[in-house]
Amino acid sequence: MKTVLGFIDEAFRQIPETDSAYKFKMQLVSEVTERANELTHRGIKDEKVIEDLIISEHPDIKGEFENVLREEKREKRRKHFVALNSLGTIIFCLVVLIVFFIHLFKVDNGLSWIILVAGASVISAYYTFLGCRRFIKKREIIFHITTRLQLAFTIMLAFALAFFIMLFKFNIIHSWVMFPAGAIAVLVCDGLFAHFSHQRFAVFMYLAYIPLAAAILCVILAVTGAVSWQTGWLLIPLALIADAVIIAIRLIIGKKDNEEVEEDSVWNAD
């Protein structure tokens, strides 16, 4: 083991002497000793081979140390983030409760509960966002589906809150349109999500979502009287035209890619 220990000493000459460096060195020495025992147990009798093998497994000790430091920092940051989030959530809940009680005792118009619903929605949306951020790092499609469902849930929650406020605070007769409007927002956000997370089949989502959103929009506009049913339906053929345009653009891009492939093959030919 002399050669390996000498190799470690040599590598540590480039690393400043700190408590972390000393701790890492001790850990490394213990690790290589354990590894040498493991290799002997596995049947390698030649000590030189064992030493060379161990050295080959640690080609960049300085890099390993930097990784350990980076990992420690990341862990520290994560702990701070969790603590900050917990504290922030507690403070936010307290503020919501205080505002709720002030409103309840000072105004008392029977709508104080909206403050609680709003507070709960904000917390839910925030944690959903954190969840999304975490899942999106994992590039598996299954996690994207979870993330998209979370996104849809958050959007619907926000629109439901808007519905309550519009109905109970402002007594707007067509407040219910917030639900179909929320559905449109879900489709738009899901399409954008598919686009920005580079989903392979994003184009099929656009093709499905555009007519669907147009149909819902048509109903909203016609029911609220913004446009008549006679003109409102035109949104649907317009959406289908938009689909046709998207398909045409994709075909043109695909053809261009194929031409580039052909050109490449000419260049790469023997």
Partner: protein, 434 residues
């Protein structure tokens, strides 16, 4: 804490093939001296340390399978026996016909037989870890490391240890080609209307695994090459034509009906540099189809050449369907994706794998070139068959690993007789010239 390795796409695919074959790749090498057993074990142990998949157990947890690295002792991997000359064949066959379950702690086993001052090395490995192409490369690297260790005392650590991902196949393609190749969702699995099968007997409880071999003498190899050259055919085309012709004769297929034989192709042809990739599978199938038997074997050869040239003209040869497989495994839990893939994938009933030349100079140990040897694919379960071909010092070995009965053994032997006869027909002109 247990160490886990990712199960790559081809690991999962070969695991799925458990219904069709025993997933073992076999090698047999003969040397005319007694090799250094300690050195052999040391080199192999170092290789196992560099490529831990060889001492890992495959865990199928139905959601996402993985390998778990296991502890081992090299004496469990390498078995050494001193035997009498007459026991040699029996020992070799018994060893080569065994199957290592993917759940076992070791995915490779070696038998070293010492007999009358000579050594025979037999190796089997799980196809899930690497294919024949990489196994050949593994053997050559092994011999180089063994020689450097024994002769110069250099530690045997020179083994490729890169990524095992199927995506390595795209790494040397141009940006546009790579993008295009990763969008080849077309499934090229052939569901042949006629579904011609090798004429085995029905499966029975007495079936056992055997490796049938036939040697084609070294004098014929250059003749096959020369005869092929005259007709614009490769050695692979010549063998495939003989395979087709022999099958029609053996099984009595209607000569007017088409038949398809799937030929294994090495996807490394798309890679300029494999030194940065790990040992893995990079093999696909090329469907070679003849529309009819043809009036004679030369017409069959023409059909084969036409079919294989059509495939070779495609710059994305063998890359079709990989993105679809990958998508299937990514979007669904493993258990579900296996069932779905089984619906879309049809395992070839008739297949051929030309493993190629076993270079004696690169397989030499301590200056002794192997005197004989061969390599073959997995033992196929009926009705599937795979004809493997390797050559050493121009002597070609045709082999077929089958799980069947004594009657099936005779059928395979008859098939090899026909193969020899048809190869002779193909090279008849060359033989006359000689």
């Amino acid at each position: 804490m247990e160490r886990r390795l990712k199960a790559e796409l081809w690991d999962k695919m070969h695991y799925l093939f458990r219904d069709y074959n025993d997933r073992m790749v076999h090698v047999e090498l003969h040397y005319d001296f007694e090799i250094n057993i300690d050195a052999f074990k040391t080199v192999l142990a170092c290789f196992f340390e560099k490529a831990p998949v060889f001492h890992s157990s495959f865990t199928d947890n139905h959601i996402s399978p993985y390998w778990v690295v296991k502890d081992y002792n090299i004496d469990d991997v390498v078995e050494v026996n001193d035997i009498e000359e007459e026991d040699l064949d029996h020992k070799i066959n018994a060893f080569l016909c065994q199957c290592l379950p993917p759940e076992s702690d070791l995915q490779m086993k070696v038998l070293i037989l010492r007999h009358s001052g000579k050594t025979t090395v037999c190796m089997i490995e799980n196809h899930m870890c690497m294919d024949g192409g990489d196994f050949k490369s593994f053997l050559k690297t092994f011999c180089k490391n063994y020689n450097d260790y024994v002769e110069k005392g250099i530690s045997p650590l020179d083994l490729r240890t890169g990524s095992r991902s199927y995506k390595s196949v795209y790494k040397d393609l141009s940006k546009t080609d790579s993008k295009a190749a990763q969008n080849l969702y077309k499934n090229l699995s052939v569901k042949d209307k006629y579904a011609h099968k090798f004429p085995f007997k029905e499966s029975s409880d007495e079936d056992y695994s055997f490796i049938a071999r036939r040697r084609i003498s070294a004098e014929k190899f250059p003749m096959i090459k020369a005869a092929g050259k005259k007709r614009g055919a490769t050695i692979n085309d010549m063998l495939t034509a003989a395979y087709f012709y022999s099958l029609y004769e053996l099984a009595g297929f209607n000569p007017d009906e088409p038949t398809t034989i799937s030929c294994a192709i090495d996807l490394r042809r798309h890679m300029k540099d494999v030194s940065v990739t790990g040992y893995t599978n990079q093999t696909s199938w090329m469907q070679c189809r003849v529309p009819e038997l043809g009036r004679d074997i030369f017409e069959t050869l023409q059909y084969v050449v036409r079919s294989s040239n059509m495939f070779k003209q495609d710059k994305f040869m063998g890359l079709y369907g990989l993105p679809l497989l990958s998508l299937g495994y990514r979007i669904m839990p493993h258990a579900a994706s296996e069932e779905i893939i089984k619906i879309g994938y049809s395992n070839p009933l008739l297949a051929m794998s030309n493993i190629g030349i076993l270079e004696v100079d690169k397989l030499a140990l301590e200056g002794h070139e192997p005197t004989d040897g061969f390599m073959s694919g997995a033992v196929k379960y009926k009705p599937f068959v795979l004809l493997s071909a390797t050559s050493m010092r121009n002597e070609m070995t045709l082999s077929m690993c089958v799980r069947g009965s004594d009657e099936d053994k005779q059928i395979v032997s008859r098939f090899f007789d026909l193969m020899e006869k048809n190869i002779d027909l193909l090279i008849a002109d060359e033989m006359k010239t000689d």
